[in-house]
Symmetry: none
Subunit: 228 residues, 4 copies
DNA sequence: CATGAATGAGACTTCATTCAT
DNA sequence: CATGAATGAAGTCTCATTCAT
């Protein structure tokens, strides 16, 4: 058997990239179920070698997801509208996010799968491995716009930018869970498109500053639903 | 060896329930990874018998999730406040939902896992098997309250009750994805409790009828984000 | 569930026959591998009931073989030629035997399977169960002819009729092992037909009385092959 | 866990042999019923590994039988008597065959089991897998002696050596079927030993050239036994 | 370092046989 | 007595991971 050896660090890096690339292709198409064997084959090396570069399948899986976030980041960058209004900008960012996920349904599922399973228990605790880092890097895109809105007095003063961002983001993912599972759904039109539009509008409206509005505390009349 | 037998249909149902109960206990505690063998053992029957009642592990897994929805339904029923205001009622229902999921984190993860993986491809297409049915049964609890709000002119007329419900529900699940993954999070207080409170308030505010508000269409200034 | 009960002995016998008949049909077609379930189904009763009539699969299998010997016996009876010469008669009987087996290849295989496996260990030791009895019943057909030959001085005097019969019979089965395995072999002509003809001739010749012939003892020059 | 590895083809062959050896030991002792698991254990490897080397149990079983033929071949080789008479040689070979089978009864049963069941349907059609090849390799031992007899004018000229060999061989196996099933039978003496001796004598006599002998055609008086 | 081989765990089946009703 | 249900044993396969070379 003849094979290449990865003597230099550079060569080593190239290999890792190749594995990741193969993994991405296959995971994004068929999900976690793809056998490691197959990924190795596509990267033109043996299973055992793959394990030299990745501690286990889960770490490779998570790395593949991380990669996906880079592409998502590009998309968000392109969606930035330096001179648009705050609302337009926010709208554009959220739509870019949703668009991207609908264009890459399996990838979205993988991100949700990551949350649903205990991947953190199964991969090295190296923070560079964790997805959180990657996700955190995307936050500013949204947070900055929101903060601009705060400065302009558009949004409620008692709403922290980070919280608003989280709420908007997770509402989007929540809806994506359904939209993405709906195989028949056309991406950019129909029921789901409208639903996303409505959801974003509601969020924006709900966060808008208003003279007459009070705090977040549970209404008085809800004693039996223990408060959080 | 001596064993029990399920002769009547009723008996058979009981047996199925028993298996399900064992499966629930184990799945809810350790997730999908539990060996079928172990589930059978806990149900005090042989693996072969278990396979008489469930076509495969996935079908059992999904059935276990379905079971969980029954418990959730009870919780929602208890949260109904016949004479509370619309907002109080909605608030109570959403909190009940979130509370339940935080009390049963693994169960929540399983529901999200179900959405993230292609379980529907792996189980019989019998609609009774599908989770969708079970979820649909919960919808009216929320929808009815929202419709009451519509009748009272509290919510925007152009917002369909079903859409509003979906948006609120999925926002909650989106946030739960994070909250549940945060092992350290205390359930009923702290950051997450506050975040849920804020999110619900925003949704309610955003859906509120207002004289000055228009449609859902994307603002004019968003041509580059292909429209939905 | 409604079913028939076998109250009378007669009814009981009918059932046993029905099972046997189903077993024969299926065993003769597909061999030992047929599931008991299927036999029961064809006999229109449940597996468990079948076990009331037969101790286990092997006993049923052996019973099915026994049945086959009855048919074989008919064939032998038809082959008897009261006024034929001894050689013609013997020839006719052996050919009838071989013909029958080639017409019922699976049945022949079953008889050989019975010998090759330790069926006697697995069935009740009731002699009525054993195949030997059944086979013994067929012996006289051949033995009588041979004895007639003895009386006529055709065959060597030092050859016991029973031994000759066994030798002739087992030579036939030995060849049948091969002929029957040769799926492509046409039954009544070609290589195998000729081979059987030759074999029978050789046997008859070899057993023929001759003035110059001595005993059965191993020749002197075979000391190293320990004698039997 | 630590284990051995078969890297080279030679090593691999050794491994396969080791499995085969374990299989032989167990099959020859307890027949087809031995669990694959147990064979693997005796070969000191895992079931999964065993399945790397053999497609399924049947292929292993057949391979074990093939192995047995090698030992038989040695025995036949040892039985060759270069300067013995034709009759002595044939006698010696046949006795060696029978002796070997009586010494290895289970092995003989396995060969007959192979013929009686449709093993060829269940194993790969690779001719190297088939037993036929192995058996064919043994033929020359007998055929050569017979041909020597032909050359010396000892045997009928119209008897092909191959046919004579088949007839003698199958007569022996036919008798072995019975002898081997007779657990109580002592190997080298008694009824069976005598029977084999007689059978061989008859065959040799029957094949002997004689001035007055005609063809193999069925006698005239056998019209009703359809001719083959 | 690269890899083929080995492995343990577990899913899923089939099936003869037995048990409880 | 008849039977549906249960079961244990075993075959087969897949796959993530590890070991020895």
């Amino acid at each position: 058997m003849t094979y290449l050896q990865a003597r230099s660090d550079e060569e080593k890096n190239r290999r890792k990239k190749a594995i990741l690339s193969a993994a991405k292709d296959l995971f994004y198409e068929r999900g976690y179920g793809v056998p490691v064997e197959e990924i190795a084959a596509r990267a033109k090396l043996s299973k055992a070698t793959l394990y030299l570069y990745f501690k286990n399948k889960d770490e490779l899986y998570v790395a593949a997801i991380r990669e996906g976030f880079l592409t998502l980041e590009e998309r968000l960058q392109n969606a930035i509208q330096p001179d648009g209004s705050v609302e337009e900008s926010l709208n554009a960012l959220l739509h870019a996010f949703v668009d991207h996920m609908l264009d890459n349904r399996k990838f979205f599922r993988m991100t949700q799968h990551y949350l649903a399973e205990d991947f953190r228990e199964r991969i090295s605790s190296d923070p560079d491995q964790l997805l959180e880092q990657e996700i955190n890097r995307l936050f500013p895109y949204v947070t900055q716009v929101i903060e601009r809105g705060m400065d302009q007095g558009i949004f409620r003063k008692d709403l922290k930018a980070g919280d608003f961002r989280t709420i908007a983001w997770r509402m989007a993912t929540g809806l994506l869970d359904l939209a993405v599972a709906d195989e028949s759904a056309s991406i950019r039109e129909g029921r789901w498109a409208e639903l996303f539009r409505k959801a974003i509008t509601i969020i924006l409206e709900g966060a808008r500053a208003r003279r007459d509005k009070g705090g977040w505390s549970p209404e008085k009349g809800r004693p039996e639903v223990a408060g959080f």
